[in-house]
């Protein structure tokens, strides 16, 4: 679609300018995206965009500097290199600060590009967004409106070159449909539900699935009331589990461990979770939405087991956090695009599924609450202290069957307790448009705060 040679060539030109005592890493990225929002059977908005930029990291005598430019023109790239060098002057000397070195691990063969995206006509993308909205409006008489019905796609490519000898290129495509449905009861009380379909390319997108999920989530909350305060078992819906895993994953960052910000810093080898729990970070799984061949420093992605049968196996590291901890990188450098230096984090988390399908899992729980969505994960969960409190809505499970809907309550516990109090792991794995996959997860002894 675009001339990717120029990305790597641009990065390599920067690296070639390294002075004798300098290490340089240049990360150049470009993306092309389309976003379409449908409303009332027509296009409400259509955005098409191409963005690109470069981030330059300089390491000289143990000091690091970084600068970026939202442009690949040579003047802007030069300016970024000059600024990165200047910025390094002000950093603290740190002998553990290193750039990744090639480690011989072979790159996984991952097919992350759907070439059909390039030839998929805008008119057909528009049809998908409009079709999604039409299906949603007609699927159930209680659907009172559609807050959003969106199509998106993105073709992203990146190149990384460094004085350590990396010269890599990668590319990936993604496409998706997302919908927010509004449902109203006879009193005009509104509930909402979110549905999606994501894939590597537009051909596999399924507006029917996205519409049905959004409609079901919205309509099943009609008539929801506030529960009584008390302790109960909650079943996190796959979408909520994926968000929960994202927070749990942050406690396994080698950088958080090094800096005394991880709950589990001194716990390697300990039973930190129920034995049902095996947690793996595997960006080489081609099915993962966030699968990728390389990490943010150019190392080949690999499968890292974090918790094995409840026992803490280890942490994830990039080159610098590994050097400080005296271990080797797990290829867990993450980058938020060309504007930031590589950090440390999990890249494609997932729990090994259990044996119970969703209905069997509800039956095994007997009495509890399915948590369909949560709000305020950023404001009520502290991954350092482990305190966990979040707004929630969902559906009561009574005698193993779904019963009345519930809203305007919170669920509270601690991350430490929630891992240990897990009583069932579902077999219903769902891929999510985020860096963790989900499944139904039952956790006992959670405080429900309502009336």
């Amino acid at each position: 679609m675009t001339d990717s040679n120029s990305l790597l060539a641009t990065a390599q030109r920067v690296v070639a300018r390294a002075r004798g005592d300098e290490q340089i890493e240049a990360y150049a990225a470009r993306s092309k995206s389309t976003e379409i929002r449908a409303h009332n059977g027509d296009v409400e908005s259509l955005s098409s965009a191409e963005s690109f930029g470069i981030g330059v990291r300089v390491l000289v005598e143990g000091r690091q500097g970084f600068a970026y430019a939202g442009s690949l023109e040579s003047a802007a790239v030069d300016e970024a290199l000059v600024a990165a060098r200047d910025n390094a002057e002000f950093a603290t000397v740190d002998p553990d600060l290193v750039m990744a070195q090639p480690d011989g691990v072979a790159a996984a063969e991952l097919d992350l590009v759907d070439p059909s995206l390039g030839s998929f006509d805008v008119a057909r993308k528009i049809e998908l967004a409009i079709d999604l909205e039409a299906r949603l409006r007609s699927i159930d008489e209680h659907i009172s409106g559609v807050e959003s019905s969106d199509y998106f796609d993105v073709f992203g490519e990146a190149a990384l070159a460094s004085t350590a000898g990396f010269a890599i290129e990668s590319a990936a495509t993604r496409a998706g449909l997302t919908a927010y449905a509004l449902a109203a009861d006879s009193d005009g009380i509104t509930q909402t539900g979110f549905g999606w379909s994501v894939s590597r390319g537009p051909g596999e997108l399924d507006p029917g699935t996205a519409a049905a999920a959004a409609a079901e989530r919205a309509t099943r909350l009609l008539g929801a009331t506030k529960p009584q305060t008390g302790r109960t078992t909650v079943v996190l819906d796959p979408f909520v589990t994926a968000m929960f895993l994202g927070i749990v994953g942050s406690t396994f960052s080698g950088e958080a461990v090094n800096k005394g910000r991880s709950l589990f810093a001194d716990r390697v080898g300990d039973e930190i979770a129920a034995d049902l729990i095996t947690l793996i970070d595997d960006p080489t799984d081609p099915a993962a939405y966030s699968a990728s061949v390389f990490d943010g420093e150019g190392l080949a992605s690999r499968r890292n087991v974090l918790i094995d049968g409840g026992r803490l196996v280890g942490f994830v590291h990039n080159a610098s956090s590994a050097a400080r901890a005296g271990v080797t990188s797990t290829a867990s450098a993450i980058r938020g695009g060309h504007t930031s230096i590589p950090a440390v984090g999990c890249r494609a988390l997932g729990l090994v599924p259990g044996d119970l399908d969703r209905d069997e899992l509800y039956r095994s729980v007997g009495d509890g609450i399915v948590i369909q969505s949560v709000a305020g994960l950023h404001s009520g969960v502290n991954p350092v202290s482990g305190d966990f409190s979040t707004g929630a809505e969902g559906v009561r499970i009574r005698d193993g069957e779904l019963a009345e809907p519930l809203r305007e309550f919170t669920i509270g516990s601690t991350l430490q307790r929630m891992l240990l109090d897990t009583v069932a792991v579902g077999s219903d794995v769902e891929l999510m448009p985020m860096s963790a996959s989900g499944l139904s997860l039952a956790i006992a002894g959670v405080t429900v705060s309502g009336q």
Binding site: F66, G70, T92, G145, K226, T339, S379, G380, E408, I411
Partner: protein
Amino acid sequence: MLDRDLVEAAIAVGLSGGADFAEVFVEDRQSVSAFLDDGRVEELTSGRDRGAGIRVISGETTGYAHTADLSAEGLRHAAAAAAAVSRSSSNPETVVLAPSEPGGTTVVTYPETVPKATKVAMLRTADDAARAASNSISQASARYSDGRRKILIANSEGVWATDDQVRTLFSVSCVASGDTGMQTGRESIGHTMGFELFDEFDVADLAERVAKRATTKLAAKPSPSGELPVVIKRGGGGVLFHEACGHGLEADLISKGASVFKDRVGEQVANPDITLIDDGTMAREWGHFSYDDEGHAASRNTLIENGVLTDYMWDHIRARTQGRGSSGNGRRQSYQHLPMVRMTNTYVLNGREDPDEIIAQTPYGVYVAQLGGGQVNTATGDFVFGMLEAYLIEDGKITEPLREGNLIGNGPKVLHDIDALGNDFEMGHPGMCGKDGQGVPVGDGQPTLRVSRLTVGGTAA
């Protein structure tokens, strides 16, 4: 920022398909960020982003394209892409652009004129102060950042507006460790102003406050659960209004039927003591600007007056549909984003009560000294917000510290349940408001107030 003839040509291309409206938004953003963690200055980052977004409206449909290529060719290409949504063709009219007074001229010291060494030295000052404040502090980090955002907006209605927005921010976060585990504290000071920010605010004081907050929480006990009276300290809880009703008063959500406040203008939606303002003109505050990202001058808008809903917030497109003017609330994260209705500085005016009396007259409840972020579902009105620093109120006195958690309530109900409003108004901390994947800086403020019942998301019975 860009020659008038280039801009006029791009608008003409935008209109060439018979569109009703075409707009060119140009942005040039420079930023510097310095980060200290674990006792080391780990990162000094500088960045530059420059580009243009072109918006074309034809009937009910908006086309948008952006480019980092500001040449005549780059702009023409983007304008043609945006204009692809147009369905008819007509002869473009000639647009006469009328420049308005440039915005953003109050900065005393532009941050780019300050040596990097001075900025880095402040990180050290904060780190030293945090670690000196308490023996329990086991980790500290500090971040300095500044950003200068020059924008130009020109459109087919003749608008030509420029603004120069400078924001400066300093944040500290600490971890305290003890027998009870780890606790954290964090706070930021940030204003729409230059480096003169630090003539008024001392980063050592900030660091000390944050360190003490983390240390205090080591003794915190689990928050209660269930419905309780909640007193929120002045300046600590403007986010309550941002979530409880601010988002629900955004005209784009109203027009989709996705707000519990739809069709309620003129109704008593809150306690009669409540007057809620959204005010982009509030100089120096975090959500301030001279022109919004559609070229409309910032404005002070009364949303709720004496408890009565008076108006929503509007951007260009929603206002045009209603045949009225924008309220200056059209904002976007960057040139890569479509503008939409956003808050600016949102605050509640003073009531009459003595804040100490409000606490004294609360037999049992929760006192929140600092709220964290929040989130709202505007369609149901249910919203949450986090307690970063909270205490129990027993017999009218503030007693033990509480662990973190969320509070949950329903916006329309909470507005009526505010049963005490203090006379001690203060603006709060700088915030970043997220909506539809876009973040923009916002401010908030309120006097000390009490909500007669809110659901506290703790773990204690």
